[in-house]
């Protein structure tokens, strides 16, 4: 761990992956991946399945441990802390402070089935941020309004469509006021006719909130429209990254070309 700085300079990006590897036994999912994401940037991660794109998000959410390398959030290591000038594995208190900067939405929504839409949104603010019930309720109602589900606030997830559940999940993540929002294939489990309503919420998110967004997606059209930058992940590395116009209209890497033409054919 000696080669990694214990913290980055003040002009550090919001998120930095520094030579991050993730291995499961013999299988290398991420291979010394480097990635910088600036504050308020909207970055899409695309690539074939099994390329490791979801792992990028899962590592950043601390759902998995990195095997090698360091992730920095706001210039501070995510899962390491400094002791005597060295990086050591972070303790729970440090981990929770860093984790509070990050929010995530999942492919299968993962709403709490025993709580209403409103209770799902209020849970984090009350339990974690120690907001009063009243404050948590107001914040959650605002967000449910933002995602267009005020009228569904007292429904349990089982009574909501997939698109509605995903919008509640976005509101629930936003209620924690994260600085970085991770969207992991949030439309992949949805019926085609409700994908649009979720994408509209993400457009709003981008326009109205000061948020850094990392999005793993198969919606190429949407990625092209909304992203500041697109990263093509292949074999555990970022094979090509650039503005959407470059990646989609003039890809340099043959792997990117191959992937995009395969996706285009499927559509």
């Amino acid at each position: 761990m000696n080669e990694y700085p214990t913290r980055l300079n003040d002009d550090a990006p919001m998120v930095r992956f520094s030579k991050v590897s993730k291995r499961y036994g013999e299988l290398t999912v991420l291979d010394e991946l480097d990635l910088d994401v600036s504050a308020n940037e909207m970055v899409s991660i695309i690539g074939p399945s099994g390329s490791g794109k979801t792992t990028v998000l899962r590592l950043l959410m601390t759902l998995e441990d990195v095997s090698d390398g360091v992730i920095y959030v706001e210039g501070e290591p995510l899962t390491h802390m400094e002791r005597d000038g060295q990086l050591v594995p972070a303790n729970q208190a440090y981990l929770r402070r860093q984790r509070s900067k990050i929010g995530m939405c999942f492919q299968h929504f993962n709403l709490f089935p025993h709580m209403t839409a409103l209770e799902n949104c209020m849970e984090g603010p009350i339990q974690v941020l120690r907001l009063s019930k009243q404050e948590a309720r107001e914040r959650s109602l605002d967000l449910l309004d933002m995602v267009g589900l005020s009228d569904k606030r007292d429904q349990h997830p089982i009574r909501l469509s997939g698109g509605q559940q995903q919008r509640v999940a976005i509101a629930r993540a936003l209620a924690m006021r994260p600085k970085v929002m991770l969207l992991d294939e949030v439309t992949s489990a949805l019926d085609p006719e409700v994908i649009g309503e979720v994408l509209n919420v993400i457009r709003k998110l981008n326009a109205e909130h000061n948020l850094t967004v990392l999005m793993v997606t198969h919606q190429m059209g949407f990625a092209k429209e909304i992203s500041d930058r697109v990263c093509f992940v292949y074999n555990g590395k970022i094979a090509e990254a650039g503005p959407p116009s470059q990646i989609f209209d003039a890809p340099q890497n043959p792997r990117t070309k191959q992937f995009l033409s395969a996706v285009l054919q499927a559509n």
Partner: protein, 221 residues
């Protein structure tokens, strides 16, 4: 002698015994639930020592005979200076035994809650304790109720063993009546029916009701 005459003469003893059986069942069940929760959670601990001590407990109490455990608690522990009154020894032995089975039920139910629930709670930055208390356990509770229904029936029937250390439960009274009157069919037949009524008409519907009430409360589905 008709059965009515039999009941007239010995009914009071059967009722007294039934009351003791109910008391033993309730106390043993409470103890079993407490042990199951503690041991079940310990089995899921990331700490090796905590995890293996729960495993050792469960293996010992599941892997040996309840009757031997009962005799140990009542006859052997006094040799180590721990003397328990027979009523206490009775429900402690049954509770500790069934608690070991319950621990596996608790562990299984917690592990059956979809992993995404745990991840969503972690993504909200909830503490390990809040994750368990607010998100995982309430969902596990619904999953574990049916197997608990089974265990409570097992537990009720297992309390009959406490008659062997002279706790005056239903089985003890039936044996006493048989011993003095030789009316074996009436004595043990009555005990059989009373145990059946307790399990089939009290525990089973009680658990069904609890399942329904809980799932209504949890999801209003």
């Amino acid at each position: 002698m008709t059965y009515a005459e039999f009941l007239n003469e010995h009914g009071a003893r059967l009722i007294d015994g039934s009351i003791i059986t109910v008391q033993q069942t309730i106390l043993a069940a409470l103890l079993a639930i407490a042990i199951a929760l503690v041991m079940g959670l310990m089995r899921l601990s990331s700490n090796y020592v905590v995890r293996s001590s729960a495993t050792v407990y469960i293996e010992i109490f599941r892997g040996t005979s309840l009757l031997v455990q009962l005799y140990w608690i009542f006859f052997v522990l006094p040799l180590f200076g721990i003397t328990l009154e027979k009523f206490t020894a009775g429900f402690i032995a049954v509770g500790m035994n069934l608690g070991a089975y319950g621990a596996e039920v608790v562990r299984g139910a917690i592990q059956s809650v979809p992993k995404g629930q745990y991840e969503a709670a972690l993504a909200l930055n909830m503490s390990p304790f809040s994750r368990m208390r607010r998100i995982i356990f309430p969902q596990a509770l619904i999953l574990m109720l049916p197997p608990w229904g089974n265990l409570f029936i097992e537990l009720l029937k297992a309390t009959a063993l406490v008659s062997l250390i002279s706790v005056t439960d239903l089985m003890f009274q039936a044996k006493q009546i048989n011993g003095t009157t030789y009316l074996s069919i009436e004595a043990f037949g009555s005990a059989l029916v009373i145990y059946y009524i307790m399990s089939r008409l009290v525990i089973t519907p009680g658990m069904r009701w609890l399942e329904r009430a809980l799932s209504r409360h949890m999801s209003r589905a």
